[in-house]
């Protein structure tokens, strides 16, 4: 009953709208939330929105995953592997930055007791 949703254009529209809505949520969080964990969460959401957008817009429903096995040997019917490789890299990098940020935040909290980014003003400027 939802066959019309399977047309490539429609899927791409869905992906665009969905990923951008996710991006909106993340951006909204980034611009308004103050707690440092919330900020990191927002950043993670924004990142995953970009990942979804990329993979979603570059894949083709007719084609298969880019893995050659006994049943799939035709490279012409495979999806583009580059976005996948890129996103693989980007996910790991994002996680690394996140872990580092959390460790900064923990140490900072230990020293000053602050968790809200708008109150982080130790500098006397």
């Amino acid at each position: 009953m939802f066959e019309f949703l399977n047309q490539p254009e429609v899927i791409k529209t869905i992906v665009t709208l969905g990923a951008m809505s996710l991006f909106f949520v993340g951006l909204f969080g980034l611009l308004t939330r103050k707690h440092i964990v919330k900020v990191f969460i927002s950043i993670a959401i924004m990142e995953s929105a970009i990942f979804l957008l990329f993979i979603g817009l570059s894949f083709n429903r007719e084609k298969v995953a880019p893995i050659i096995d006994a049943t799939q040997t035709q490279v012409a019917t495979m999806n583009d592997p580059i976005p996948q490789a890129m996103i693989l890299t980007a996910i790991v990098i994002g996680m690394a930055v996140l872990a580092l940020g959390v460790s900064f935040a923990i140490e900072y909290y230990k020293l000053t007791g602050k968790t809200e980014i708008d109150t982080m003003n130790e500098m006397r400027f």
Binding site: L30, I36, V39, I43, M46, E47, I50, L53, F54, L57, S58, I82, P83, M86, T89, A90, I93, G94, A96, V97, L100, G101, F104, A105, E107, Y108, L111, T112, I117, M120, E122, M123, R124, F125
Partner: protein
């Protein structure tokens, strides 16, 4: 000789640090310096033997895979970075006995990773590879910023990290759109196809790139975090930030810009953006009393000046930009190293402290650096500023010319205020120890400021060549894509 060595060697060194630190702390420090020296020697030998642009492939041929392009322009930046990093390591080595960092092996790892990433940014011809190096440079800089683990340092590291993360999201967004619309990640292929894209997509990608890099190249509405980072980090590390990191980002931003938009569609906008950044930063620095923060404002101003020069997008201006890059890197490096010498004894960085310092040597060196930053003739800073203003005048951009000059004047106000503090007559109680090795580094930096200022023609030809290469979009495309 392979240009990959510039990236792979520091990376290898970074990975092998735990192994080397088993051999003893000194062994690690000396091998690190040795490695950087050999890179410097490699860069110099390339400079002497250099004839044309070379492409270094990774795994597969150029448009498909990653490749490193070593042209005159990128060689210039590589040379600058390795030179500064070597000097930095030497300086650290000389002051190490009295003032070693905790966890030294990690410090050396970070330095070499930073070097590898900055060189990678400059050399790479693949936009996603640039993103990866963007992240490596960023993440090492965050840790270096927070290295001392005081509340200030952690705050600056955290702020640096958050802005960096947001910047990388925008950059990644741009890269994603580029790949979706162009179908390639190679800069040359994108450059070829970029003009054919619909206007709105082109605009969106350009703006996302501007925001992504804008955070890192510290242009006006995106640079509010910079001063905090400079104030919180140690002066030693600040020398790297303003000497190497920003320059790498600036270079790669304009490298991409020249490739994607060779006609200069947004030139006027970028020029005024730079002009406004410069004015705002200098005005904001006027009443600053913390030395590190003050120099941060000055860095913002100078970086905006370089931004203006690059944004002009013609050979004379880009040549001027290279002059300013060299001048600013050397001079700011010197100033921050001098601050680091002061920081050894006391953390307090209020400008009143300059009245107390009893070290004529440091004073003279700071004078040299400041005069060069202000663009006083006989220093290399003047050459850059002059060439830039000349090309602004020739292009008839008088408003911008006056803006730059006004900003220079405001900068002069606070730099001469500092000099007034240093010339203050009165008892000077605070002795600052500067060892012979440190002195040699200061003197060599100061002399290079003077010599390049008096004999700018010695490098002008090279810089002009670099500017031509950087601006030549077609040659780049031909080189990588062929025909």
């Amino acid at each position: 000789m392979s240009s990959t060595l510039f990236i792979a060697l520091p990376l290898l060194f970074g990975f092998a640090t735990p192994l080397l630190s088993r051999l003893g702390k000194n062994a690690l420090a000396y091998t690190s310096v040795l490695m950087q020296l050999s890179l410097l020697g490699l860069a110099l030998s390339l400079l002497l033997a250099h004839s044309s642009t070379t492409v270094e492939l990774i795994s597969i041929a150029a448009p498909l895979g990653i490749s490193f392009v070593l042209s005159t322009a990128s060689l210039l930046m590589v040379l600058l970075f390795t030179l500064l990093m070597t000097l930095f390591s030497l300086y650290y080595l000389f002051q190490r006995r009295a003032n070693a960092y905790a966890n030294e092996s990690k410090f050396f790892t970070l330095l070499n990773m930073l070097l590898a990433a900055s060189i990678g940014l400059v050399l790479s011809s693949d936009i996603f590879n640039i993103y990866v190096f963007f992240e490596i440079a960023g993440i090492s800089a965050y840790i270096l910023s927070a290295y001392s683990k005081t509340a200030l340092a952690l705050e600056s590291g955290l702020k640096y990290l958050l802005t960096g993360a947001v910047a990388s999201i925008f950059l990644l967004f741009a890269i994603v759109l580029i790949y979706l619309h162009v179908g390639s990640l190679n800069l040359a292929v994108i450059a070829e196809q970029f003009q054919l894209l619909p206007y709105n997509v082109k605009l969106l990608i350009s703006l996302l790139l501007l925001i992504g890099f804008g955070f890192k190249v510290e242009v006006f509405p995106l640079n509010f975090w910079v001063t905090d980072v400079y104030q919180g980090s140690t002066s030693l590390v600040n020398a790297l930030f303003s000497g190497i990191v920003v320059k790498a980002y600036l270079f790669v931003f304009f490298h991409i810009l020249y490739l994607f938009l060779p006609q200069g569609e947004f030139t006027l906008f970028l020029l005024y953006l730079g002009g406004v950044s410069m004015l705002v930063a200098e005005v904001a620095g006027l009443r600053q009393t913390n030395l590190k923060r003050l120099f941060a404002y000055s860095s913002l101003g100078q970086v905006a000046l370089i931004f203006v020069a690059f944004a002009m997008q013609n050979i004379q201006a880009v040549q001027a930009a290279f002059f300013i890059v060299i001048a600013h890197s050397l001079a700011k490096f010197m100033l921050f190293l001098a601050l680091a010498s002061l920081e050894k004894t006391e953390q307090n960085m209020h400008i009143d402290r300059l009245k107390q310092i009893d070290s004529p040597f440091l004073m003279v060196m700071m004078f040299l650096a400041m005069l060069s930053l202000l663009g006083i003739p006989l220093f290399v800073g003047f050459v850059g500023k002059f060439l830039l203003l000349k090309s602004l005048a020739v292009e008839g951009m008088l408003t911008l010319l006056v803006m730059v000059v006004v900003a220079s004047f405001i900068e002069a106000i606070y730099y001469f205020k500092l000099m007034g503090y240093m010339l203050h007559k009165g008892t000077r109680s605070e002795k600052v120890e500067v060892s012979l090795g440190e002195k040699m580094i200061f003197v060599s930096l100061g002399l290079s400021l003077l010599l390049l200022g008096v004999f700018p023609m010695s490098i002008a030809g090279f810089l002009q060549n670099a500017a031509e290469v950087l601006l030549d979009q077609t040659a780049y495309i031909t080189l990588l894509v062929g025909g």
